[in-house]
């Protein structure tokens, strides 16, 4: 379980997160939505201390990493997390095989001889085959995202963080990534945190949805309750998302 208590983050004078407190339960799929630039990515980066919060507690399985400076404690806690980066963040100089096997080398004691088998399995899980020897520059955006997902789950993390998993993807690949996120949760029993501005994705796949606005969670509820929310910000966001979906639909028809 992850407990976040009074988390604060600022960049200089600009306050990004204000006293955020939330509890993420075992096995749930928790989505954080909100307009771009509101600090969603900052929130999940703070969770595993890729960014250092100003104050607050981040308790992962009983271990508070909110303010620890011990590199080994941080590394130990980060081991239980997988992270799907917005642009994939695959290592350019390594092949797909080396990218997916990277975490196995540093996060597990699995013998090297087993890497090819595991890499194949994980790539199959994300619907890819015969790409092991390709370099990231030879992959499409959607493939990069899937390889990145395979890399993130290769060491079988307990928690999975998704940073804008569908941004920049076409509708078909978006659907595929959505199914993959649900698959990861069902097949691997991973607790997931998804950060997205795609309201429909969040409402479709999540156990709970939180809306981040001006550094605060203005609503945290199950999708059905979220849709009925009386919060002004939530209503506005839902309207804008609906309008933009309608506009995109019209564009597609034209």
């Amino acid at each position: 379980m992850i407990e976040i208590k009074k988390l604060n983050k600022a960049f200089g004078e600009k306050v990004i997160l204000k006293d955020i407190s939330v509890e993420i339960r075992e096995g749930e799929l928790f989505s954080v939505i909100g307009p771009s630039g509101m600090g969603k990515s900052t929130f999940i980066k703070c969770l595993i201390r890729l960014l250092n919060p100003e104050s607050g507690q981040i308790i992962v399985d009983g271990q508070d990493i909110g303010s620890t400076k011990n590199e080994f404690t941080l590394a130990k806690v980060r081991r239980s997390f997988g992270y799907l980066f917005q642009e994939g963040a695959l290592f350019d100089s390594l092949t797909v095989m080396e990218n997916v096997a990277f975490g196995l080398k540093y996060l597990t004691d699995i013998p090297k001889s087993d890497y090819p088998r595991i890499v194949k399995e994980k790539l199959a899980l994300v619907g890819l085959k015969d790409v092991e020897q390709l370099k990231p520059s030879e992959l499409s955006v959607g493939m990069k995202k899937r390889v990145s997902l395979a890399r993130s789950v290769a060491a079988e993390p307990k928690y999975m963080l998704y940073d804008e998993p569908t941004t920049g993807l076409d509708p078909v690949t978006t659907g595929m990534v959505k199914d993959l996120i649900l698959d990861m949760r069902e097949k691997l029993k991973i607790t997931s945190i998804v950060v997205t501005h795609d309201l429909n994705l969040a409402l479709e796949i999540s156990s709970r949805v939180a809306m981040l606005n001006d550094g605060e969670f203005v609503e945290v509820s199950e999708p059905s309750k979220f849709r009925q929310s009386e919060n002004k910000r939530v209503k506005e966001f839902m309207e804008i998302s609906h309008l933009s979906r309608t506009a995109n639909g019209k564009k597609d028809c034209e």
Binding site: A75, A89, D92, G103, K105
Partner: protein, 249 residues
């Protein structure tokens, strides 16, 4: 970023490099890869630079000696002295700072702006351990070796001009070197390269790790790293030379 902040941040980076150098498993593959990129790939440009520097030194000194004494005297001594003590190490380090330093900054900078550095943390390793330590080792090992290579080719270039253009026999040229120079003259230049290598690695890695602002930021960091490294090689050269002279090397 202010100077004090930059110095503090550099000190923290160095502390982290020292920490991971002693605490982590040696990344042989990554270190070898970097040694090839930094050392082997710089050999051609270092060879050309040092060979022609040796040639032009012999030509200019030979001409000056002829004008003064009607005889191209002590060409070997003067070429070797200049190459071993100053031009070999300094030219090599300036060339490597421009070529390999730029590669290192651009590579780490690109990794920074595309979140690959963050990905390293999430995949169980530390960027200092995986990226910086191998590059520091590669710079510290290959730069002194490249300098020996440059010294040799510089002296060879001088010999070629001494023989062909000035009519000095190879035995006289070599005799001039071995009579008037000793191992300390070589050591003077050789020792300096360790300081230069450490400085180039620090500047290149630091600038890469602090890159911000996409492709434009990578270009900016790379330019700043190259300029800073080149200027620092020349500035440090004076102070280290003065120190070595003071201790009798």
């Amino acid at each position: 970023m202010g100077l004090a902040e930059a110095l503090g941040s550099t000190a923290l980076t160095l502390k982290s490099v020292v920490f991971w150098f002693f605490r982590s498993k040696f990344e042989l593959r990554e270190t070898a890869k970097q040694a090839v990129k930094i050392g082997v790939d710089s050999m051609t440009v270092v060879a050309l630079t040092s060979f022609f520097t040796g040639m032009v030194l012999a030509l200019q000194m030979g001409q000056s000696m002829k004008n003064l004494f009607n005889e191209p005297m002590y060409i070997g001594t003067m070429v070797a002295f200049s190459i071993l003590k100053e031009l070999g190490p300094v030219m090599t380090c300036v060339v490597v700072a421009g070529r390999a330093g730029a590669v290192v900054t651009a590579e780490i900078g690109t990794m920074k702006v595309t979140e690959q550095i963050d990905a390293l943390y999430t995949l169980g390793t530390n960027p200092t351990r995986y990226l910086l330590v191998p590059r520091y080792i590669a710079f510290m090992v290959t730069l002194p070796l490249l300098t020996v290579f440059a010294d040799f080719l510089g002296i060879l270039g001088g010999l070629l001009v001494a023989m062909v253009k000035l009519g000095v026999s190879p035995s006289v040229y070599m005799n001039d070197i071995f009579t008037f120079l000793d191992v300390y003259d070589f050591m003077h230049g050789f020792i300096k390269t360790f300081f230069f290598a450490f400085m180039i690695a620090t500047v290149s890695c630091y600038k890469g790790l602090h890159t911000e602002g996409g492709a434009e930021g990578v270009g900016k960091s790379t330019t700043e790293a190259v300029v800073a490294s080149m200027v620092l090689v020349l500035v440090m050269d004076y102070f280290i030379s003065a120190l070595l002279v003071a201790v009798g090397i």
